[in-house]
Amino acid sequence: MRRLIPTVGLRAIPVGAAVAFLATYPLYHSNVETLKFTLVGIYLIAILGLNILTGYSGQISLGHGAFIGIGAYTTAILVDKTSLSDVATIPLAGLVAGAIGFLFGFPALRLHGVYLALATFGAAVAFIQLVQSVHYQSFTGGATGLFYGLPKNPYYLTWGIAAALYAAAWLLVHSKLGRALTAVRDAPIAAVSSGVNLALAKTLAFGIASAYAGVAGSLLAIRLGSVNPYSFPVALSILLLTGAALGGLGTLNGVVFGALFIQFAPDFAIDHVSKTAPEVAYGLILLAVLFLMPGGAGELLHRLGGLLKKAAKPLYSRTADRAEAVVTSTRSDT
């Protein structure tokens, strides 16, 4: 733990700036502008989880939108059919989605790479079918969905939870489990021979990621006041993975950029790039970003940080250079 403290110290400045920015944002922005940042917070929570799964444990998920949906429907059903307050359903939504995700992790154990991606993609598709199914209609509201309130703007709630979950994710990836996950990703055989329980580590990653998604979904349901299968299209899962990749897989520094991208890139593309085919422009932006900084925003920040550190390195090195220069000049004198 002591080793962590200097790192925390260095990061206090950007973290403090971010907290100050977010805490005061609603004071000088309209409700609608604030709403967009509520959604950024919700996407941030989802991407944090996805990053633990894909970035740290190396398991690709194209079905994260389904777990957001599970969280959203858990909150919607509980608020609609019980007397629980919406805020009280948030941990339950996280637990339900987390449990289902943990169970989903078992069959996923047998799959790698593109096969796992396909299986998770299947989850995204199946989720929409299941909630629309007439068999569960009394429960999920079928294709019409559930209506239980007016749209809200849970800005501080979302960002409070996002901050707590960010800290939790940070502690997790710096813990024994976090190192085990990274080992599982980079060298599974070496990880097993060092005593890591491969199956447990992988399924736990699925469970944690899904719990994060469930919390995000719950907040989304609170924000909307209604849920509908159309709110969780397959495209949402793809967008989330895109956001996670842009933020930087395997680092938590850039996650917020991924979340900002998910919220603002589609709007930006249709307003400024192309009215008829924004998806194409959006794909091009993605390609450009991935091509120019494959490690995502996280890597870029890391490099910038490195440059800053270099620039701020004790003058000792520069003095040494100068001393050398002096020596050279003396030599030329002779």
């Binding site: 309209s30 409700n31 609608v32 502008e33 709403l35 967009k36 959604l39 598709v125 929409i128 079918q129 629309q132 007439v134 079928g142 294709a143 019409t144 969905g145 209506f147 309130g149 007016l150 749209p151 989304l220 924000r223 909307l224 006041g225 209604s226 509908n228 159309y230 709110s231 299209p233 397959v234 495209a235 589609p266 249709i270 009215k275 085919a277 924004p278 998806e279």
Partner: protein
């Protein structure tokens, strides 16, 4: 010194916070001035449902035309320039809620007009009604827009409702093909269920005997082949399709591939525009598509028999002027213009003192026979609380060699009373 500064800040803050309240206190509703009126709506401009994007663009073209042209001595809507804002919601209710709040709270629209899609619009009904913002002429034919006037007095549809349309097919079957054995394929959502309920209701007691097989699909299903194989195996001779455009086209292509040639095909009007039928003909062949039966209530820009009609000429001139690159044969542009016409009529009907309440009063008590884009003699009529279905007359049409031709006069499904 410090105290003085604090006091100054406090006074300043109070002023800043208090000012909007002071000015907001006037009697006029947001979005309307003596010179302008701001209207807005959400539509799928991108994504799977983007084929509906011509609707808000057709509306934009008509509003621009009226802003630029004096009609009855006045430009715009009763002398007010119309500012029309429409945003993409990708047919995703998450976006619909945010974009609708953007329209109401940031753009301060006077009314929400023409918002598209049953599920997306359902997601903002309670919001619009709690804020008392008119949500008029939604672009969906779900029966609830007219039948739930008590719950949602600020919301109303425009086009004929799906149940009424399906009832026309039911009556047609009863009167013209009484021996038909029906196979029904419908989309498993409120849209398809609404249509199916209308058909079953219209057939009455005979429904069980006439409908030999029913299959549903989800709009996200990759194909409808399994459903169609089962429907064909039921021995039905008439296929009833209640689907959105892309699934309808897929259905035609699939029955052509299966070699199934039902004696009759009945197709809901949403998917029956020229553009979609053209694609269906390309994929399935004219032999499969010809003979299909549907209904319409707007003039058909793809049918040359309307070429000399004054309303059609107006439509084409507006298209040429404001949307020169668009395909004017796509009936969705005309649908948008017809809706924009009704919107202006409603605003004019609200009179000089235009408020959100007076607009709703005008929308709820309207009789308009002048819409140049609707079929002749179609009346846009409401009489709240009894009748909240603005359009309820339609004519049966049959597809033949690239176009729809009428096979009946207007059929009225307006609720009695």
């Amino acid at each position: 010194m410090k105290k003085g500064l604090l006091a100054l800040i406090a006074v300043g803050a109070a002023l800043v916070l208090g000012l909007p309240a002071a000015f907001g206190g006037s009697s006029a509703d947001p979005g309307v001035t003596a010179r302008s009126i701001t209207l807005g709506g959400t539509f799928p401009l991108t994504g799977a449902a983007a084929s509906y994007a011509p609707i808000p663009r057709g509306m934009a073209a008509y509003f621009s035309y009226r802003n630029a042209t004096k009609v009855n001595g006045k430009r715009g809507a009763n002398g007010r320039q119309i500012i029309w804002k429409f945003y993409d919601d990708v047919y995703n209710p998450t976006n619909t809620v945010t974009q609708t709040q953007r329209l109401v709270e940031q753009d301060h629209v006077f009314a929400l007009v023409g918002g598209l899609g049953t599920e997306p619009q359902e997601a903002v009904v309670d919001y619009a009604n709690s804020k008392k913002v008119p949500q008029i002429y939604v672009s969906t034919g779900a029966t609830e827009w007219g039948s739930k006037h008590k719950e949602h007095p600020w919301t109303i549809g425009w086009q004929p409702d799906y149940q009424a349309e399906a009832a026309i097919y039911g009556r047609y079957i009863r009167d013209h093909i009484p021996a038909a054995k029906l196979a029904v394929l419908y989309q498993n959502d409120s849209y398809g269920q609404d249509y199916n309920a209308g058909l079953v209701g219209a057939l009455g007691k005979a429904a069980d005997e006439k409908i030999v097989s029913t299959r549903t699909f989800n709009v996200t299903d990759p194909s409808v082949t399994t459903q169609l194989v089962a429907l064909r195996a039921s021995g039905a001779d008439t296929l009833v399709i209640f689907a959105t455009p892309s699934k309808t086209i897929q259905t035609y292509a699939t029955i052509a591939r299966l070699g199934w040639k039902p004696a009759h095909i009945i197709l809901n009007s949403v998917s029956a525009t020229q553009t979609f039928m053209g694609i269906a003909v390309n994929l399935a062949g004219a032999a499969t598509v010809n003979g299909s039966i549907s209904v319409y209530y707007t003039k058909d820009p793809a049918n040359p028999s309307w070429d000399n009609d004054a309303g059609m000429k107006l439509y084409k001139s507006i298209m040429a002027r404001f949307l020169p690159d668009a395909d004017a044969k796509n009936g969705l542009y005309l649908y948008g213009m017809a809706k924009a016409y009704s919107t202006i009529k409603a605003i004019e009907g609200a009179g000089k003192n235009l408020t959100r309440a007076s607009l709703m009063k005008s929308v709820d008590h309207m009789t308009d026979t002048t819409n140049p884009f609707l079929l002749p003699k179609v009346v846009v009529k409401t009489n709240a609380p009894k009748d909240n279905f603005p359009i309820s007359q339609q004519a049966l049409i049959q597809f033949k060699d690239g176009q729809w031709n009428p096979i009946s006069g207007l059929i009225d499904t307006r609720p009695k009373g």
